[in-house]
Symmetry: C2
Subunit: 300 residues, 2 copies
Amino acid sequence: MGTITKEQIAALYQQAQDAICAQLELADGKAKFMEEIWERDGGGGGRTRIMQHGNAIEKGGVNFSAVHGELPEKIMQALRVTDNRFFATGVSIVQHPVSPMVPIIHMNVRYFELGTGEWWFGGGIDLTPHYIVEEDAHWFHAQLKAICDKYDVGYYPRFKAWADDYFFIEHRGETRGVGGIFYDRQQGDGSPEAKKRLLDFSLELADIFGFIYTTMIARNSHKTWTEREKQWQLLRRGRYVEFNLVYDKGTKFGLDTQGRIESILMSLPEQAGWFYDFKPEVGSAEENTLKLLRKGLDWC
Amino acid sequence: MGTITKEQIAALYQQAQDAICAQLELADGKAKFMEEIWERDGGGGGRTRIMQHGNAIEKGGVNFSAVHGELPEKIMQALRVTDNRFFATGVSIVQHPVSPMVPIIHMNVRYFELGTGEWWFGGGIDLTPHYIVEEDAHWFHAQLKAICDKYDVGYYPRFKAWADDYFFIEHRGETRGVGGIFYDRQQGDGSPEAKKRLLDFSLELADIFGFIYTTMIARNSHKTWTEREKQWQLLRRGRYVEFNLVYDKGTKFGLDTQGRIESILMSLPEQAGWFYDFKPEVGSAEENTLKLLRKGLDWC
């Protein structure tokens, strides 16, 4: 078996983007993705797809990109690499639903290669319910665990804990949502076989994404809500903005490498709110959700 | 003349907070500040005052704090200091108006002292109109220049340029608004007289703040607006959030020193928006504002 090339990986990720967009349009039933093809000054480009004002999705992005060029010094230090020539390709998704009863979801799969030929995979999926439904969280984690276990029974416990640590809003002392999985710099033993396996793993995640999110929509979109739930949604979206602008490494990488701003920041919701010193009522659904925004909960 | 103590400076800044709050309540005519007295685990505390849902002010904060303790390693490096014992006191203000025709305003004056006795002042005022009114920008800068000139004719040109560089949203290539003045680590010749002068300068800025902002409200709050202007306001507030979470040093300092989150993030608007790839109409007021969000414009 020959080694898979970065161009092949990029092509597969682009196909994954197509498949996901088709599933989301079908689930939404109203909105269609608009597409923007862009080129990056330093090399490469991408295909940004945004869906807005749908039945289920208020604002959602499914981005594909394959960029290359030279890493700025700052990024080289952060990555602890000595070669500045890089290639990066991936699919990045964030969906902000209309209904506060439907969770926000994020997925990213990516492949990174240096000029020296050193390569690795990274990715993750995490779910951010405005209102945590415990059985949904269990179900969500079970889907991810099933895929992880097919590849390595060590993956789920490791990547689940990694997600808890990564999707954490340090200054609030809360997790972004119910977590999921997160992994970075995976290269196995560095062999062509390891590369193929890690690619397949990422493609399976991309493949199940549509099923996961359409299920989340189907399970929750019939629930009624009032102004109160909408306000809480705005507040939770505010936290999402805080995470993305303060901590998210993908966002930082994009901003630091002069990526296309509108593509990088498609992850931000159409509207978000900050209500000073909001305290949920004792025993309320909002309070219950806050209590569950913790690391280390076993959802499986 | 004896040297002014840090406690005296803190007391004067606390008085400045009182005076500003009284002026803003009067100008608003409806909302009153609510107060939160807080203590910081590591030492010191503050008095946060928030006004919400007024006639003119949708959400505004006027914070006083006087904190001390030990600087985290990260901050010591950023400040390039070798002593980790610090004292910091200041007043920090952000006002988000109801009307998109009234500008957002920010002011901060602060005093910093190390365990070694080394001290400096910092501060700034900047104006962020959702719609730039050129004569208001001229007037605003003229007020600041008049105060600067009383102390040092070199201040205004230097501090105005510093504000252009500081209040800049790098990833958007736009300034936050029409700028103002910004300064940091001012210690003159380090003498007690220099300290007194820099303190007086900061107190004059705090003193004129109420007049400046009530004038901005008076000049613009009678203007009518529609859903279109409100949407644009949400978008501009989104940019404000981006600046504060990605670049603002005060916010970073607060988050890194485990400050009180609700006080630090009172600068964020009650609602903000991100509309994918928004392009203003050619010749519109929105486009005109975007064109003026540039460094180096001479507003005096």
